[in-house]
Subunit: 698 residues, 2 copies
């Protein structure tokens, strides 16, 4: 076996292929090697995760600086298993050394729920006599149990069952026909599933019963659209092509595009991880972020009735944004010229699995990058922008999250998230009032109010690791109207408040001041503005956590209590709601609440991590059903005082003329897109008024 | 002359062409006809504006309902002229009747500044001895006066000069070379120009003098980019084509696209006007908005020193978003298959002029419209969206505003505005402190803090003209954690507050509650949710007006004091800062402050107008210079409880498979875009891992 292992490992470090980059996710071969090592030592266990234990930052920063003369960081695997009897163990495996370097048995902890864990529950529910009984009460005869479905959710935390048993709650649905959307037929009871015993240990039954809806199915599949008149036929194709190929280069998992350079990682919890993001500023390669990722989420539901308080999924920490990720499809999920990356995981048996096309990398036209016309002579410059998008889509039971990391030519990094998929629904009797805790989106279907709160982990490296965060508030100047200092009352300025300590940094969004946050390197001033080089976090979708202080969600999702937390960098602080999230009680709160316990720790001009919670509060409406049009939200990380000028000035313009060229009527630079056409109808221009236009010539 | 007039008018109402739609802007022929009528009556005058006086709403609503049996609303022109001696007159002309139906001489009022007005100032400045003297003091010899430029701005209001003289302030700049960007060389003094006398009547000279900068030019034109290494060569073309044409139909200025139908108007002040927006809901044509437009803007600058308080341009009311609009260029401003509309205006002499390609109409791919994967069997639907964009770009001296009205298939209307162009700049001495009122974006260049505040006029027609606005706040449920009503502390709901009166509706954004506003028809409930049909205004970029209460800006820009005002509909209330904005003193405040004077007026279930102020506060940085990468802001009008389901279900999916199709391994609907390609390098797939992917087949 050691031979096998060494052989597969050898592919990476010697022989044919180049060694993996230290940030590269574990390969299928590495995963299987690790499983073998663990199996040898600990026998047959259920594998929960085998993932890259990322290199310690200090060591990695050294290597990045001079890879030729620095020892390559070791390939370490982070392993979580569930041994027979439900014993949870975690450890580290040095892959090249072929040995387990750390092994711990954990008590009262549940690692995340895998897709395999989820798949099991429905089958067991269908056979459980108590579930069958409840289905009959709901109006479903026992011969129809194959029409009963469940979305297994993590249980959140239920004090009756604690943390030692590995549990899921089964949100129950009915499908009259196998192709019907089950979310139109929610059932009113909720079985509790014990993963170790593989059985239903309890069923939560509401006081008021709500038999299965008699409404007709509400579907979105082709047959249902055809039955209602068919698909619209008046939408013509838009073709997006790149005949000369793409503008980015790929070396392993390192992307080089328009002065940006970064490594694309991927893991089972966070999904996409962007590492070592640098910007080539006229030959000077400047670090910007050491690491960016979505680190956690929580989706609290707002119906106070038992057991709906348990619905507050931590989709990343409890299921994994990597594990749930879609295999993307050319021409469906992304259009144009696409590069994909696969994702390798371990399955329960310790075999490696692959999600093909887990990450999509492609370019899009970004509209006007900049434009100016001189009104005197109509000399003009118009330059179109381009963006590079690194994306994934993951399915969390009913919901879909589309995550787009977007790089812009002006130095901006944008994170866009689109929410789509299907609302979580609960049963409602005819005439029953939702009491405002939800919306009847279809007869008998109550879609509860909820929030989608994401935690963005920003590990900045703004011209170096020692950074400082400033809160920036648009503020009126001092002095009343008519005063000497503010005679006309028009004074306003950007009030910057330095966060010197962890405590000071605990902060919320302020819409009144259009609050933003500068992540700055105070050791380096912009030569023109004399202000620290910085990246500004511009984020406007920042609802507060609506579950109250002291509530279960508030205790478990400590990261979501505030929009901003800043901590000193620590290699082990990556999971803002704790490393093993399922069934945490929130007593004590894990993750960020632990890390900010020492409020006096300095975050001034040192290696820091910024945690930003953002998202939306979702009050459903019938338009969101039976499948929800994508709802976008976005935030920006924008260079401010980082460059000495617009860094995109050298992007070739579509058209550019100077006053002297306009006067000479020649010399203008015309690189307009010649593929664009005027709309023509029936072989001739639709309007004579526009038929004579030519590019930018006035 | 009457014959000429009748002949040109006849083109529209009889004979060859169809008559203009009552919402159509005046044609060139109509404009010239009107000028002739006015000239006959009032002799030689300077024409400031001849524009459509839109039909009275009551009359127009009737006509829209049954155009075949209702008298067509008359073509009425709204005329503003400046007669010799500076006498300002305005009137109405009935075009078909060929007569002036109303004529008024105005006192103490200045109509907006036209491009012709602006063009004159620079030439006069260059010849003015006092300006030449100041240039010499600044270090510019008098033989270099041809290198001196000015951006003429409306004066705002200066109490020393009042409102009776027609004035502009000349923001002065220097260009070492004719092709150099002048904004790197601001001069420190400010001449005041009298448009009637055509002379400089005063120069504001600061106490501290700031000679012209000796820094080297900071340009963005081709020669300067070439001198610094040239354009980047690593960006490959993206072609966007519609081989089968576009998906919209145009009948005159009426657009029909994906169930949307609306009329595209255009006027000199507001630019694009969208009228009679309806949605065909499965054969039922439902009114949504009677009229949408950007009605006003103000851009206050935050430097308290005299005379910078005068910098607070009302770009629409003082210059006109139509007058300043760009002639757009195929393949530069918009890519793909484009339809353009021209704009017709009057010039000072009373001749009609045309801006070619003033409005761009085109489609874009909109990414994923909705997607869901069933985790059980990977049955999936993925549907891509399309959007229709009606856009214009206008140049306000240094700044460019790109305005995009975007229609989505899910019933959403989005307004996106991109800011680009060049910062307004002022001189700064070496070593001088900006004191926080601006940023030194280049040596000697102080870019002052400012806000861009837009006023969106929403004239709703949500299933009829009688509408009501509700404020919606995401709110925690009552009862503390552990209480009977909120045992788990997780309760939250959408708190809806009806605005019954004008006074109640005066409101601001609240970031804490993620405030939105529902524009609802309380007479019609959604059959599923039992909530009023509505469109929700979702707007997150809503800074408060930073100039203080009682300040000049606060008095003049009354509309900007609050994010929301709601008024009873009135045909004559279209200009939220008043009809003639230049040189208003703000005593009394014009426009909205007048209209909300009766705070008790009912706005409950009646014909209303919603005024929404939004925008950004801009603290410049060197990245914004010498030309600014586009900064986007956006807001949404989303259907909520308006439809009974996702109205885009019948958009053909890229791929759709049901559980039974997955089980049968056939029958899936596959219409994926076959133009999309995997990235290939050197003739073969760049990665073997992705070379085997095919659309959506798992
Ligand atoms: Co939601
Ligand atoms: Co600005």
């Amino acid at each position: 076996m050691a031979l096998d292992r060494l052989k597969s490992v050898a592919q990476h470090v010697t022989g044919s292929g180049p060694p993996p980059h230290p940030f590269d996710p574990l390969s299928n071969a590495e995963i299987e090697t690790v499983a073998q090592i663990v199996r040898k030592e600990h026998g047959k266990v259920n594998y929960n995760a085998i993932t890259l234990s990322e290199p310690r930052k200090k060591e990695m920063m050294k290597w990045l600086e001079d890879p030729a003369h620095t020892p390559r960081p070791a390939r370490i695997a982070d392993v979580v298993v569930i041994a027979p009897g439900g014993k949870v163990c975690e450890g580290l495996v040095d892959i090249l050394q072929g040995k387990i370097t750390k092994w711990t048995v954990l008590e009262g902890v549940q690692p995340l729920i895998t897709m395999e864990d989820l798949q099991a529950v429905e089958h067991i529910c269908r056979k459980d006599p108590k579930v069958i009984e409840q289905c009959e009460i709901s109006g479903i005869p026992k011969e129809d149990m194959h029409k009963v479905y469940c979305d297994p959710w993590t249980i959140g935390y239920d004090h009756r069952f604690g943390s030692n048993r590995r549990l899921q709650q089964a949100l129950m649905y009915y499908r009259p026909h196998v192709d019907d959307s089950q979310y139109s037929f929610p059932l009113d009871f909720c079985p509790i599933f014990d993963a170790e015993k593989q059985e239903i240990i309890h069923i939560d039954i509401p006081e008021i019963r709500r038999p299965v809806s008699k409404a007709k199915p509400n579907n979105y599949h082709a047959a249902s659209v055809e039955a209602e008149g068919g698909y619209r036929t008046d939408i013509k194709p838009i073709n997006i092509t790149q005949p000369d190929g793409v503008s980015f280069k790929i070396d392993g998992r390192i992307i080089d595009w328009q002065n940006w350079n970064f490594h694309v990682g991927f893991n089972y919890k966070e999904g996409i991880v962007l590492n070592n993001i640098t910007y080539n500023d006229k030959g000077n390669v400047r670090p910007v972020f050491y690491r960016l990722s979505l680190a956690e989420m929580v989706v609290p539901y707002g119906n106070p009735e038992h057991p709906h308080q348990r619905k507050h999924a931590f989709d990343l920490g409890e299921y994994g944004g990597g594990y749930m990720t879609n295999s993307l499809s050319l021409g469906c999920d992304c259009k144009g010229a696409i590069h994909y990356m696969d994702a390798a995981f371990v399955n329960r048996a310790g075999e490696s699995t692959t999600i093909k096309n887990a990450v999509c990398i492609h370019e899009e036209d970004a509209g006007i990058l900049f434009k100016h016309t001189d009104f005197r002579d109509e000399s003009v410059i118009v330059t179109r922008g381009r963006k590079l998008i690194i994306s994934q889509i993951f399915t969390a039971a009913n919901y879909e999250y589309c995550v787009y990391w977007i790089f812009h030519q002006d130095g901006t990094i944008q994170l866009e998230i689109k929410l789509t998929g299907i609302l979580n629904t609960y049963a409602l009797n005819p005439g029953e009032d939702t009491k405002g805790w939800g919306t009847e989106v279809y007869p008998g279907v109550n879609a509860h109010n909820h929030q989608h709160l994401f935690c963005l982990r920003i590990d900045p490296n703004i011209d170096g690791p020692n950074n400082t965060v400033f809160q920036v508030d648009a503020t009126q100047g001092p002095g009343e109207v008519g005063s000497k200092e503010n005679p006309y009352g028009n004074a306003f300025f950007a009030k910057k408040t330095k966060y010197s300590t962890v405590k000071e940094a605990i902060s919320d969004y302020d819409g009144v001041t259009s609050r933003t946050w500068d992540i700055a390197n105070t050791n380096k001033l912009n030569p023109y503005s004399h202000k620290p080089v910085s990246y500004k976090l511009v984020s406007r979708e920042v609802p507060r956590l609506l579950p109250k202080e002291g509530s279960l969600v508030w205790k478990r999702a400590g990261f979501a209590r505030h929009a901003i937390h800043v901590t000193q960098y620590s290699d082990d602080q990556t999971c803002p709601a704790g490393r093993h999230v399922p069934q945490t009680s929130g007593e004590p709160s894990r993750g960020i609440p632990e890390w900010i316990a020492n409020g006096d720790a300095s975050i001034d001009n040192t290696d820091i991590v910024v945690w930003h919670t953002f998202g939306i509060t979702h009050f459903p409406s019938p338009e969101d059903f039976p499948i929800m049009p994508a709802e976008p939200m976005t935030l920006l990380l924008r260079p401010r005082n980082f460059f000495t000028k617009n860094p995109a000035l050298d992007v070739p313009p579509s058209y550019c003329s100077t006053p002297s060229q306009v006067a000479a009527k020649s010399g203008a630079l015309d690189a307009a897109d010649k593929m664009s056409k005027l709309v023509v109808a029936g072989g001739e221009a639709a309007t004579t008024s526009s038929s004579s236009s030519s590019c930018c010539k006035k």
